[in-house]
């Protein structure tokens, strides 16, 4: 009896996981999460990062200073 219940529960859980994952797949929720949440966050992170700015380097310095840094 208990084994039967366990089997039922496992099958139920698997079916629920399958249905959940299928919804993620079908409604492109993985894509939406990436595009609407991860992407704006990362964009901001990258924009905030301190990086060398090639535009601020005087032209005559470009070769010697910028590229070798």
């Amino acid at each position: 009896m208990k084994a039967k219940k366990n089997i039922k529960r496992t099958v139920g859980a698997l079916a629920a996981a399958y249905a959940g994952l299928f919804c993620v797949f079908y409604f492109d929720l993985d894509g939406k999460l990436l595009y609407y949440v991860v992407e704006p966050f990362m964009k901001r992170h990258f924009d905030n990062m301190e990086r060398r700015d090639p535009h601020t380097v005087p032209y005559e310095q470009i070769d010697s200073e910028y590229m070798k840094k």
């Binding site: 409604f27 991860v38 990362m42």
Partner: protein, 620 residues
């Protein structure tokens, strides 16, 4: 966490033991690919710096959370949900208006119009395509498999991979590769869908594994012992030379940060191009070398590797990119592999062989590895077999029942020819499976693009990276089925696998006919006469003639191609593009050229009118 040097020492000792074990397995022909020791190699990760990195990210997260306009964010999400819901209701209503037969047809065979899957201004699709009960289930399985593979591969060494994802903008674009897989399989069903999934999976496995290597080797991540085994080569240089160095890893340096990612995400190369143009490079330079140089200017390439093999291929732009490379990383020894362009003069082949010998010697001296003829011949035998399978695909596609159409087929061919080159034994299995499915489908006389087989097409000249799935749209919207692309039609000779001198001659011949170079740099008869020969061979009705507005090689031929095409009475549609810069000619403009030609010259109606006009300017 700071690991003590002793502990790191133990790890290295273990890694050495594992490497010896792997070498023994390789000697017995049981080697795993790629060598698992490469993934495990790790010696001096700066955990303190990693901790700092992580703290910085946590800081940004918190700051963002505090600063975010939560109201506006949730309002936008609610609007999107509402729009999704309205679409669901509309689709449900449409379904109720269908007759039971129509409904059954949609349930079993999938939806007929695909334009509704796009939403203006959105990067993601509204939902995935309903391909019919069986094919949607298959698509779902492949989606799970792809995510599983990506997660498993990155978990082989998560910390460097995460660090790189937080440092390099382009790494984030790879998160969207599952969406790229969808774009390439839109409208495909049955055998065609299965073959596409098999092929694209292999490419992404290669990408994921190499991304991990790239992250591990980057100096920012501690520069692991693996670095001593890494030979970088220009992304435009073929990978076959590494077949003779089985203990080393050959990585096409700019492939991940520039070349491949620009096919996944159309917006990736824009910062590179802008940076290098502000740096002084003329704006009419081909976006391939421009982007490579721009990536160096804005520090988008990892500092890694024991040496770099540069190249003059496919054209002079690569020479410029090599110059930038050696200026940026002066500590990296560079070997310039520069093959004669007039490759049809056999007298020049010996020069190319000398160049290859010099390159082998260079790698031996830098890395201490020894060229291994057995390993080289083994890989080339595999590559020959793969080429035979490729030729079989061509034979089938030349018949009245072509079976393998669409971007995955083209991408796979290019990747296999240029990058893999028989290195990965797992690819062989894919060739076998694809061949099996293809031959069965051919025997059943299946339609490769169900209900959409109207015109036999061929693609010529260099395609737009930012619209890698253009042939998919051509089939879905107008029923133009691309049987082959110029870039696939390369060297198919069986490579020598016994005589050492002749093997090097063949390797030189192969390199000289790399993707793009064979045609665009091969002179008049390799690109003009060859086109008419191929059009006849494949019995193509429509030629999709790409025109990279910055490709000087092809620009010189436009008038000649136009004149001869008119004389021969072929349908040729010119599609302008700017290879990696979608701002010059957008995807929509590219589609517009086809729409215009099909409506005015061919007087045709689209198979799927919803795909004639839609917005994907910001879509990945």
């Amino acid at each position: 966490m700071v690991l003590s040097t002793e502990l790191l020492g133990i790890r290295n000792a273990l890694a050495e033991k594992r490497e010896i074990k792997a070498k023994k397995a390789a000697a017995n022909g049981k080697a795993k690919f790629p060598n698992p020791a490469f993934f495990r190699a790790k010696d001096n990760i700066d955990w303190k710096a990693q901790g700092k990195n992580l703290m910085e990210v946590v800081g940004i997260c918190t700051e963002m959370f505090k600063e975010a306009d939560h109201k506006a964010f949730w309002k936008l999400q609610a609007e999107r949900c509402k729009d999704d819901l309205n679409r669901c209701i509309l689709e449900f209503k449409q379904a109720t208006q269908m007759s039971p037969e129509e409904l059954k047809d949609v349930f079993l065979n999938g939806e007929k119009t695909l334009g509704k899957l796009y939403r203006k201004g959105d990067m993601a699709t509204v939902r995935r395509e309903w391909k019919g009960a069986v094919d949607t289930a298959y698509d779902f399985k492949e989606w799970l498999k792809m995510w599983g593979m990506l997660l498993m591969t990155f978990s082989k060494d998560l910390v460097p991979a995460l660090n790189s994802a937080l440092y390099y903008r382009w790494m984030i674009s790879y998160f969207c590769c599952v969406g790229f897989m969808d774009k390439n399989t839109f409208g495909q069903k049955g055998s065609a869908l299965r073959m596409s999934h098999l092929m694209i999976y292999d490419i992404f496995r290669y990408v994921a594994e190499n991304l991990v290597f790239l992250a591990k080797c980057d100096k920012k991540n501690g520069n692991s012992v693996l670095n001593k085994k890494v030979v970088l080569f220009d992304e435009m240089t073929m990978g076959q030379i590494m077949a003779g160095f089985p203990d080393l890893v050959g990585i096409p340096y700019q492939l991940m940060p520039v070349f491949l990612v620009s096919e996944i995400d159309q917006l990736t190369c824009i910062p590179y191009i802008d940076a290098v143009e502000s740096f002084g490079l003329p704006a009419d330079t081909c976006p391939v070398p421009s982007s490579e140089c721009g990536a160096l200017v804005i520090d988008a390439l990892p500092h890694m590797g024991s040496c770099f093999i540069s190249s003059s291929m496919p054209c002079d732009g690569s020479v410029m990119a090599s110059e930038y490379m050696s200026r940026r990383f002066p500590d990296l020894p560079v070997y310039h592999l520069t093959f004669p362009v007039r490759y049809e003069y056999e007298e020049t082949t010996q020069d190319a062989v000398e160049d290859i010998k010099g390159c082998i010697k260079f790698v031996e001296e830098i890395t201490g590895a020894k060229w291994n003829w057995d390993a080289y011949f083994k890989q080339m035998k595999r590559f020959n077999e793969e080429t035979a399978y490729e030729l079989q695909k061509w034979e089938v596609n030349k018949t009245d029942y072509p079976q393998i159409i669409g971007p995955c087929y083209e991408l796979f061919r290019k990747w296999n020819y240029e990058m893999d080159g028989g290195a990965d034994p797992r690819t062989m299995r894919t060739f076998e499976k694809v061949n099996d499915i293809m031959m069965k489908a051919y025997e059943r006389r299946e339609e490769a693009w169900r209900g959409k087989m109207k015109y036999r097409g061929i693609v010529w000249s260099c395609p737009a990276h930012y619209y890698a799935n253009f042939s998919n749209w051509l089939a879905n919207c107008w029923g133009i089925d691309i049987l082959v692309e110029m870039e696939s039609l390369n060297f198919t000779k069986v490579l020598e696998t016994e005589d050492k001198e002749e093997a090097l001659m063949d390797l030189a011949r192969l390199y000289e006919r790399m993707v793009m170079r064979r045609h665009t740099n091969g002179g008049y008869h390799n690109v003009v006469d060859e086109l008419w020969r191929q059009v006849e061979d494949w019995r193509a009705e429509i030629i999709i003639m790409y025109q990279n507005v910055a490709c000087k090689n092809m620009a010189t031929l436009q008038g000649i191609l136009d004149d001869q095409c008119r004389d021969k009475n072929y349908h040729m549609i010119w599609i302008e593009h700017d290879l990696m810069d979608p701002r010059t000619v957008s995807r929509k403009n590219m589609r517009g050229k086809v729409n215009e030609y099909m409506r005015t010259v061919m007087r045709a109606e689209p198979i799927d009118p919803t795909l004639e006009e839609f917005d994907d300017e910001t879509a990945m």
